[in-house]
C-alpha cells in the first residue's frame, strides 16, 4: 500500500481525514472550554473540506450542498451557539483538566487500532483509501464516545456528542459518497434540534444542582436510603 501512488486529490482526502482524527484527540484532552469549542469548529471545517474534495473527485453534485450544510452547521452555527451558552453560563474561563491524561490517551489510541481492525475485513478488496477513511470515521465516533465518558462537564460532553456526529458524517461521505439528500437534511435537522435542547438543558441542570458537573447528578439510584 503506497500512498504516493494514489491520485493527488485522494492523498489530500487522506491528509484531511488524518487531521480530523487529530482534532478528535485534541478535543479529548482540551482543558479550556472555549478552546475546546474552537477545536470542534476546526473539526467541522475539516469534515466540510473532506466532503468538498470527495465531491470534486466523485462528481456527485449533491455533496457540494452537504459540504456547505456541514460548514454552516458544524463549523459556524453550533460553535456559535455553544459559545453564546458558555458566556451566558459564565463559563468563559472554565478549565477542567483530564483526570488521568496518560490512560485516556492510551485508551483513545487503542480505539483507533480497534477501528482499523474492525474495518479491515469489510474493505479488504477495496482501495486502501476507503479503508483508511472509514476506519478514521469510526475512530472519531468512538473517541467522541470516550470524551463523553471521561469528561465531567456537561458542555464538554455535548462537544463529545457533536464530535460523534462529525465522525458519522465523515463515514457517510467516505464510505458511500453521501447519503440521500432527504436523509442528510433530516440528520442535520435532528442535530440542530438536539443542540437547541442541550442549550435548554444546561440551564435546567444548573438551576437544579447549581453546577454543570454531571457527576453530581446522582439522586436516582437504587441503593437503600433512609427516607424522611
Amino acid at each position: 500500500m503506497n500512498f504516493t501512488n494514489l491520485p493527488l486529490l485522494q492523498q489530500l482526502v487522506l491528509l484531511l481525514a488524518a487531521l480530523v482524527l487529530f482534532t478528535s484527540f485534541a478535543l479529548l484532552a482540551q482543558a479550556r472550554l472555549v478552546s475546546a469549542i474552537h477545536v470542534f469548529a476546526w473539526q467541522g471545517l475539516l469534515v466540510a473540506a473532506v466532503t468538498t474534495v470527495v465531491a470534486v473527485t466523485s462528481e456527485s453534485h449533491h455533496l457540494y450542498f452537504s459540504a456547505a450544510l456541514t460548514l454552516v452547521l458544524k463549523a459556524m452555527l453550533i460553535p456559535w451557539m455553544l459559545h453564546r451558552l458558555a458566556r451566558r453560563l459564565e463559563l468563559d474561563r472554565y478549565v477542567e483538566s483530564l483526570g488521568r491524561p496518560a490512560l485516556t490517551m492510551m485508551a483513545a489510541v487503542a480505539l483507533v487500532i480497534f477501528s482499523y481492525w474492525l474495518v479491515l475485513p469489510m474493505v479488504q478488496q477495496e482501495l486502501a483509501f476507503t479503508r483508511n477513511i472509514t476506519a478514521i470515521s469510526l475512530a472519531v465516533l468512538l473517541i467522541g464516545l470516550l470524551t463523553m465518558v471521561f469528561r465531567q462537564q456537561a458542555v464538554i460532553q455535548v462537544l463529545g456528542f457533536m464530535s460523534m456526529e462529525n465522525g458519522l458524517f465523515l463515514a457517510a461521505v467516505s464510505a458511500t459518497a453521501g447519503m440521500p439528500m432527504v436523509v442528510e437534511l433530516g440528520v442535520a435537522f435532528d442535530v440542530l434540534v438536539a443542540m437547541v435542547l442541550f442549550g435548554v438543558f444546561f440551564f435546567q441542570i444548573r438551576e437544579s444542582i447549581d453546577s454543570l458537573n454531571v457527576d453530581q447528578l446522582n439522586r436516582l439510584t437504587e441503593t437503600l436510603e433512609d427516607e424522611a
Binding site: 464516545l145 436523509v183 440528520v187 436516582l220
Partner: protein, 490 residues
C-alpha cells in the same frame, strides 16, 4: 395514500396549533381530537391493507406488520390522550408545571406521535433513523417537565444515553447503505428497505454482520435491552404519567420494530454463510439477559413507577428473545405480546398515576390500602399486575405460552431460565403489590377523581384476547408472521 397522509399530518397540525393555543381546556380536547383523527386514518389504512395488500408510495410503505403497529400506536395514543386531559389539568392546578409547560406538553405529545408514525410507515432506513431520534428529542423535554432535580437528571441521562445509542445506529445505517451501494446502483433507492429486502441475498455478509451489531446496540438502547437500559427506569418514572404510559407502551415497540426490520435484511444476507443465524442468536442473547436481569432488579425497587419500568424491560427482553428465536410460532407469539403488553402496561401506568395521586407519593413503602380507599384504582392495579405477570386468562399468558412452546421445540434447555425469570418477576411484582393494595390505609387518605374508562377498556381487551383471539386479528398477525419469517402459522 390519502389515509396515510391524513394520519401523518394530523399530529403535525395538532402540534403546531397546540404550541400556540393558550386556554388549557381547549388544548386537552384538541389533543384528543388529533389523536382520534390519526386513529381513524390508521383503521382505514388497516382496512386498505387487508383488502388490497400493501399500500406503498412516496417512499412510504404500509404492510401487514407495520399497519398492525400503526393501529396499536394510534389506539393507545388516543386512550392516553383521553386520560391525560383531566390528569394534566390537575397537574397544572397543583402547580407542578405552568401554562407554558402545558403547551410544551400537548405540542410535544403530538410531535411524538408524529415521529412514531413516521418511523413505522417509512420505507427509507435513513428516515427511520431520523424519526426514532426525533421521538427521543420530542420526549426529552417532557421527562423533565416537572423541573425537579430528579426529573432533570432523568431527562439528561435519557438524552445522552439514547443520543449515543442512536448515533451508533446511524453508523450501522451508513454501513448498510455501503453494502447496498455495491449491489444497487441508483443512490436514491439504496436505502429503501423494500429494495434491500428483495436483494438481501446479494448484500455483502461481512459488512452486514458488523452493521447489524451496531444497529442492534443502537436501536436496542431505545428498546431497553440490558446493558443499555440505564435510562429507562429514570425516564419512565420521572415524567408525567401519560408520558410514562406512551413511552412504555409505544416507543419501545417502535424501536423493536426497527430491529426486526433490519434483522430481516441481515438474515437474507447471511443465509448462505457459515453462521446464518447470527442475528437471531444476538437477539436471543440480549433478550434473555434483559429478561433475567430486569426480573431480579424488580425486587429492589422502592418507587412504584421504576418497578413497572423494569417490568417493561423484562417484557421487551422477552419479545426480543422471541423475535430472535424465529419461526412462525415464536414470531406470532411476539407480535401478540407486543399488543397485549402495550395495552396492559399503559393501563398499569395510568392506574399507578392515580395511585400516586391518592397516596401523595410514588414510594412503594408509603402507598397503602388502595382497595379500601378507592376500589376502582385498587382493583385495576391488582388486575393489571395479574395480567402483566402472565396469569391466565389474560392475553399475556397466551403469548408467553406460545413463546415457551416455541422455545421447547427449538431450544428446550432455554425454557428453564425463561420459566425461572417469569417466576422471579411474578414474585417481585406481587411482593410489592400486596401491601400497596391490601395494606392498612393511612388515616385521611381520600379517593380522587379518576377516569378509569381507558384502563377498563384496555384490561377488558387484554382479557378478551386471552380468552379468544378474534378471527380477523389472528389472520392479521399470521400475515405479519408470514412477512417476517416467510412461513405462516395458521
Amino acid at each position: 395514500m390519502n389515509a396515510l397522509l391524513v394520519m401523518l399530518l394530523s399530529p403535525v397540525a395538532g402540534a403546531f396549533i397546540l404550541a400556540l393555543l393558550r386556554p388549557l381546556s381547549w388544548s386537552g380536547w384538541l389533543n384528543v381530537v388529533a389523536s382520534a383523527i390519526s386513529f381513524g386514518a390508521a383503521i382505514t389504512l388497516a382496512w386498505m391493507v387487508a383488502t388490497q395488500g400493501e399500500v406503498a408510495g412516496l417512499t412510504f410503505r404500509v404492510d401487514a406488520f407495520n399497519v398492525y403497529l400503526l393501529a396499536l400506536t394510534t389506539f393507545v395514543g388516543l386512550t392516553t390522550s383521553i386520560f391525560s386531559r383531566p390528569y394534566m389539568r390537575y397537574v397544572c392546578e397543583t402547580g407542578k408545571t405552568g401554562e407554558r409547560g402545558m403547551r410544551v406538553y400537548h405540542s410535544m405529545y403530538q410531535t411524538f406521535m408524529f415521529t412514531m408514525l413516521l418511523a413505522l410507515t417509512t420505507d427509507n432506513l435513513g428516515v427511520l433513523w431520523v424519526a426514532v431520534e426525533g421521538a427521543t428529542l420530542a420526549t426529552v423535554l417532557l421527562v423533565s417537565l416537572y423541573r425537579t432535580p430528579e426529573a432533570v437528571e432523568a431527562a439528561w441521562k435519557y438524552f445522552i444515553l439514547c443520543g449515543v445509542g442512536i448515533a451508533l445506529a446511524l453508523f450501522g445505517t451508513v454501513l448498510t447503505y455501503y453494502a447496498a451501494q455495491q449491489v444497487i446502483s441508483d443512490p436514491d433507492t439504496g436505502l429503501l428497505w423494500s429494495e434491500l429486502y428483495r436483494r438481501s441475498g446479494e448484500l455483502e455478509p461481512t459488512v452486514m454482520r458488523i452493521a447489524f451489531v451496531f444497529l442492534l446496540v443502537g436501536y436496542g438502547t431505545k428498546v431497553g435491552l440490558v446493558p443499555m437500559h440505564q435510562w429507562l427506569p429514570d425516564a419512565h418514572s420521572e415524567g408525567p404519567t401519560p408520558m410514562s404510559a406512551v413511552l412504555s407502551g409505544l416507543l419501545l415497540n417502535v424501536a423493536l420494530y426497527a430491529v426486526v426490520r433490519l434483522k430481516m435484511l441481515v438474515d437474507g444476507s447471511l443465509a448462505a454463510t457459515a453462521m446464518p443465524n447470527m442475528a437471531g442468536h444476538l437477539l436471543m442473547g440480549f433478550g434473555l439477559v434483559s429478561f433475567l436481569t430486569a426480573g431480579l432488579f424488580l425486587h429492589r425497587q422502592r418507587d412504584i413507577k421504576r418497578m413497572f419500568s423494569y417490568s417493561s424491560i423484562e417484557h421487551m427482553g422477552l419479545m426480543t428473545f422471541a423475535f430472535g428465536l424465529g419461526g412462525p410460532l415464536a414470531t406470532f407469539g411476539a407480535l401478540l405480546h407486543m399488543l397485549v403488553h402495550s395495552f396492559t402496561k399503559s393501563a398499569i401506568f395510568v392506574t399507578v398515576g392515580h395511585a400516586a395521586h391518592i397516596a401523595g407519593t410514588q414510594s412503594i413503602d408509603h402507598i397503602r390500602g388502595l382497595i379500601r380507599t378507592q376500589p376502582a384504582v385498587g382493583w385495576s392495579l391488582l388486575i393489571g399486575v395479574a395480567a402483566i405477570a402472565g396469569f391466565p386468562p389474560f392475553g399475556v399468558f397466551t403469548s408467553e405460552f406460545l413463546l415457551l412452546t416455541a422455545t421447547m421445540q427449538s431450544q428446550p434447555w432455554l425454557t428453564l431460565p425463561l420459566v425461572t425469570g417469569l417466576v422471579v418477576a411474578f414474585a417481585g411484582l406481587f411482593r410489592h403489590l400486596h401491601p400497596m393494595v391490601y395494606g392498612v390505609a393511612p388515616t385521611g387518605q381520600l379517593p380522587v377523581q379518576a377516569n378509569m374508562l381507558p384502563v377498563a377498556i384496555h384490561l377488558a381487551l387484554v382479557l378478551w384476547l386471552g380468552l379468544s383471539i378474534p378471527g380477523f386479528l389472528s389472520r392479521w398477525l399470521d400475515q405479519a408472521t408470514g412477512l417476517i419469517t416467510g412461513a405462516h402459522l395458521l
